[in-house]
């Protein structure tokens, strides 16, 4: 049973003028578990990830990393302390090679930016992390390819690889399965399963089948609020959740 909580959200709220996109959401991300957040479009899922990762400041509430309050930390600082994320819309660097994409992400942890005489392409630390990230996501054969020329599924894998290259403890993944066919989805799910040990994973997803296959815990969001949270079967049986998804054949 997973014990230590890596990332915790307590009453996180985010307002945009009159609109409350995230309303007092609390959840825990323990090590060794996959926590899925599902909900209809506009439920506030992406905004939640943005607040947890530090891209957007919280209007109220707090975010804790290993018990430490990081609510006012800027995003780069959170990333350096182990909060990694991937994006819903692919944000790989199209002109760089797959290897360089991962290596550059890994470089964030050992910047030594003043060492202008050294050659980045020979930096052992970042290269090692990059190769490891590519190995886990199955991209080693594509290392020299320009990221812009990859197929969609491969780009989504690279998106995860870049997140892994920063050696995070917490992975905040925003719709990693977006636009994937069944084969690619299987590959991605087995990757996520292999990542479960040692990491805390937050997964925002629309693909219900995939969610029920991989998640240890599910939180359902509607209109920015948490509707239900718990183990998958409990959530599935919850009548409020069923009502909210009335007509959704996949549930």
């Amino acid at each position: 049973m997973p014990d230590d909580v890596l990332l915790e959200a307590r009453g996180v709220t985010r307002r945009f003028g009159g609109l409350t996109a995230v309303d007092a959401v609390s959840l825990e991300l323990p090590r060794g578990a996959v926590h899925a957040v599902i909900g209809t479009n506009g439920a506030g899922k992406s905004t939640l990830i943005n607040v947890l990762s530090g891209e957007l400041p919280a209007s109220a509430g707090s975010v804790l990393l290993l018990g430490e309050d990081i609510t006012h930390w800027p995003q780069p600082r959170r990333a350096r302390h182990g909060v990694g994320r991937s994006y819903q819309r692919t944000t790989v660097f199209p002109r760089f090679s797959v290897l360089e994409n991962c290596r550059l992400a890994a470089q964030a942890h050992r910047p030594r930016a003043w060492a202008v005489w050294s050659d980045a392409d020979r930096d052992e630390t970042s290269l090692a992390l990059a190769h490891e990230a590519m190995r886990r996501t199955g991209l080693t054969d594509l290392a020299a390819r320009a990221a812009g020329g990859l197929a969609h599924g491969q780009k989504r894998q690279l998106e995860i690889a870049m997140c892994l290259a920063t050696a995070p403890q917490v992975l905040l993944l925003d719709e990693p399965l977006a636009g994937m066919g069944p084969e690619e989805t299987d590959r991605m799910l087995s990757l996520l399963a292999s990542l479960r040990e040692g990491h805390a994973i937050l997964l925002v997803e629309h693909d219900m089948d995939a969610v029920f296959r991989i998640a240890d815990r599910i939180t359902v969001m509607v209109d920015g609020k948490v509707l239900a949270t718990g183990e998958p079967e409990v959530v599935r049986a919850n009548s409020d959740v069923q009502a909210a998804y009335l007509g959704e054949a996949t549930l």
Binding site: A79, G84, T91, A108, A115, T166
Partner: protein, 329 residues
Amino acid sequence: MTRTLPVALAVVGLAVFPWLGGKFYVDLAMTVMILAIFALSLELLVGRTGLVSFGHAAFFGVGAYATVLLSSKSAAPSLLWLLPAAMGAAALLAAAIGALSLRTRGIYFIMVTLAFAQMAYYVFHDTKLGGGSDGIYLYVKPVMGLGSAVWLDLDHPLPFYFFTLGCLAAVFAFLAMLSRSPYGHALAGIRANEQRMRAAGFSTYPYKLAAFIVAGALAGLAGFLYAVKDGFVNPEILAWHQSGSVLLMVILGGIGSWRGAVIGAFAFVALKELFQSDVVFGAFARHWQLLLGLTIIAAVALMPNGLIGVAAQLRARRRASATKIAHAG
């Protein structure tokens, strides 16, 4: 990004040029080299980091004015402290302007850099600091020496030519090395997608500020050389036309390439000479800015990747037709 053979050839070519060309063309070559350093410094900002600055002339101007103002009127100042001092003055201004401007993004950044450069222009134009709109003279050119022995006297054209060439080569090599370093790679990442870099853990502001300061210092070096070459500075070198010209050089040569910046400087000087030539345009040469304006519009519209981009396209087309011939045969 650098192909060694053409670069080496260019250096050799420039090195023997003083014995090949007439005085007018050698002087022009010196101008091209100085502007090439200026353009390279802006390429670091625009091409490498993605920061479009429309106020880069401020650092060129401050470097030039510092050179003149810090020199004594009687004895030849020593190169060994004057050059770093001029670059330092430019770097200091870049630190101040950069710290404020980099709080803005995108279009704001362009406007703010323009506005601050204009402020620097007014400082030199309206106050007594630099002799006002008339400008000031450099009375004695700097030398490099120890005690009474003079090793390098920049008052003489040949030593100055080679000193400038040496500076250009050093700046080029430095920037090439910077590109390969982790810092250079980080700048490239910031240009591609700053948000993604932040998500990976890079605090991007210090990286950008450092690039801004280095670019400012290098522009100051170009300013130093400019002041020594002609022995005269006036506020127009800080005017926004200067900022616009150096931006044009960078885009003319091709953004994203160090060679492009040098080529762009050469192309700009060549075009300006052409448009101002009485021989070609007669009395209309007075209105050379009209042709320059039309050229800028045409260049940006038709050659968005600059001359380097055009060369690459031609090479690609030649390769494609060679493949076609190979397949047909």
